[in-house]
């Protein structure tokens, strides 16, 4: 009896669940978001298509020669190409990853797990966050004084040997400078990854008699690995696109005598260039020799592909580690 009453009531009341009010604000918000997404994607697409079209004359006819060629004074030179820049950029990426990764992860683990929570540690975190926003030219200056010239301040601090070790204006100096530049970003992303490790895992390890370093090694690092790797590789692609600090640490766009092969490490302590520098140079040359406009566009495409490859590696690595994490 009671049940039937409820049943009928529900059936009659079904209209109560149909929409009474329209959510105008929500609809408007969705539309605005969608519009801005479409606009930004469209701008990006136009830029890419335009660049590829501009560089097509180089890429379609002599892509391999372009990748293997070197800096030339005339754009119709059939030895014109970006190999020296590719060499510089690739090694800058490797040096950045190899130095910023361990230091960044170490700093993040220290700050999250070891440093006592005090006023000092929060000041340090604030400083790191601010360093991530410092203009790259400033890092260029730092690199110039720290790695390139034997400056008085750093000599006084006992760091004068760095400039000797790097060979002055070299790929090594540039890579280390950019490593310092991306270090705050690496630390911040690694910190976030470390913080995301579930308390249950940490307590589980401690509860079984693990020491702190065992806990870090067996729980924190494996669990945080995907996040840390992604952060590092994104930082690496940012470093590869930088031009301003490279100018300060002495990347040059002419007078390079050598064109070393990719794995020829003897070029690391010598005069160098990098893709962003070549692009800037060729764009500025296009008034004198319009053919350089095409070359610059082609070089941009090469740089984009390099960055894209790195980001893809980041995603693949992250997926692999996440799968391991279960």
């Amino acid at each position: 009896m009671a049940l039937t009453t409820i049943g009928t009531a529900a059936r009659q009341g079904a209209t109560a669940f149909t929409r009474q009010r329209r959510d105008f604000a929500g609809g408007l918000f969705k539309a605005v978001i969608l519009l801005s997404l479409i606009v930004s994607l469209a701008v990006l697409a136009v830029l890419i298509v335009d660049t590829v079209a501009d560089g097509w004359a180089q890429l379609s006819t002599r892509a391999w020669d372009f990748l293997n060629g070197s800096l030339r004074s005339r754009s119709i030179d059939d030895k014109l190409g970006v190999k020296q820049g590719l060499y510089g950029s690739l090694w800058i990426g490797i040096i950045v990853a190899a130095s910023a990764f361990p230091v960044g992860v170490g700093a993040a683990v220290y700050l999250e797990e070891y440093a006592p929570k005090s006023r000092w540690s929060s000041i340090i975190e604030l400083v790191i966050r601010n360093l991530a926003g410092v203009p790259s030219v400033v890092y260029g200056l730092l690199g110039l004084f720290l790695f390139v010239e034997r400056s008085t301040i750093f000599g006084f601090l006992g760091l004068g040997w760095l400039a000797d070790a790097t060979g002055g204006r070299s790929v090594l100096s540039a890579g280390l400078t950019l490593a310092v530049l991306v270090l705050p970003i690496v630390i911040i992303t690694a910190q976030e990854a470390v913080r995301a490790v579930p308390t249950g895992l940490k307590e589980g390890a401690y509860g079984l008699g693990a020491t702190k370093s065992e806990m870090v090694r067996t729980q924190i690092l494996p669990y945080a690995a995907p996040g840390i790797l992604t952060g590092t590789l994104l930082a690496m692609s940012r470093a590869i696109g930088e031009a301003a600090p490279l100018i300060l640490v002495g990347a040059i766009s002419g007078g390079l005598t050598r064109n070393p092969d990719v794995w020829d490490t003897s070029g690391l302590r010598e005069k160098f260039t990098a893709l962003p520098i070549i692009i800037v140079e060729w764009v500025s040359e296009r008034g004198r020799d319009p053919g350089f406009a095409t070359a610059a566009a082609a070089a941009i495409v090469v740089l984009l592909v390099l960055v894209l490859l790195m980001n893809m590696t980041a995603i693949l690595l992250r997926n692999r580690f996440e799968k391991k994490r279960g």
Partner: protein, 319 residues
Amino acid sequence: MTTGHDTRLDSFNDTGLDPFNTKGGRPEDPDMTATDQRADEPVLDPAAREGAELPTERTVIFDVEELNVYYGDFRAVRDASLKVHKNEITAFIGPSGCGKTTLLRCFNRMNDLIETARVTGSLRYHGVDLYHPKVDSVEVRRQIGMVFQKPNPFPKSIWANVAYGPRVAGLAKKGPAMDDIVENSLRKAALWDEVKDRLDENALGLSGGQQQRLCIARAIATDPDVLLMDEPCSALDPIATTRIEELMHGLKDDYSIVIVTHNMQQAARVSDRTAFFSVEVNPESDTRTGILVEYDSTQKMFSNPADERTENYVTGRFG
């Protein structure tokens, strides 16, 4: 009062020697087993052992005296005193926020991980002051295992989960010796038959109840003396809960168990002794401090408690 008090370890402590720095060595004393005079197996149902008094001369494992636990300035537990006995199941019951977890986590120095946590008073384990500066918390946790409220298996294989503790303790390396430890631990945790064919699979693929039994197996694998369990069944369904309760009853022969539970029936079903905690509201600071109201044999606590507050709580008349 001082039944089963291990004087040898007392002197250890006085000379400043750390009984926990001997790897895997538990403060074993031949006399200890001799003092452990258990007349008969206590039965699961407290009603069935009506009148059967618990042997009071049973070895004391933990001797807690006037223990206070603070988080910063906030006192979470005030003046708790109780004794935990060997091969018994001791239950902590009480409303939420009365400091059961806080007190339990003192027993294996898990509170050390919380920076603000501070302990005063005395907490002796086989006569050794657990908070003595020379006592190493890592060694403490190797002997006093813990099972957490939410099952927390590592995102590794079932085998690797169980092998974790023995590996960090250096008890065994990969190989037949470790395989034996893994098998024995899983058998004791009543999980072996369910997982023996998939030891290489990720532990996160197990059901909640299986995960919790895996966590028990993992804790057993380090060959601890005591198991601390913080509401081990609160995330489980009734069937999984029953399995864990049966399992605890079997484990009692080898281990001493302290279990926190908010489920009074569970305390009544599994435990030998029950401690009832409550909160005391401080009118000035509006803070709530946990206090130990009453501690006695479970049978007495549920049939004839001395304190009115206990009676109200166990009969369900408590808000």
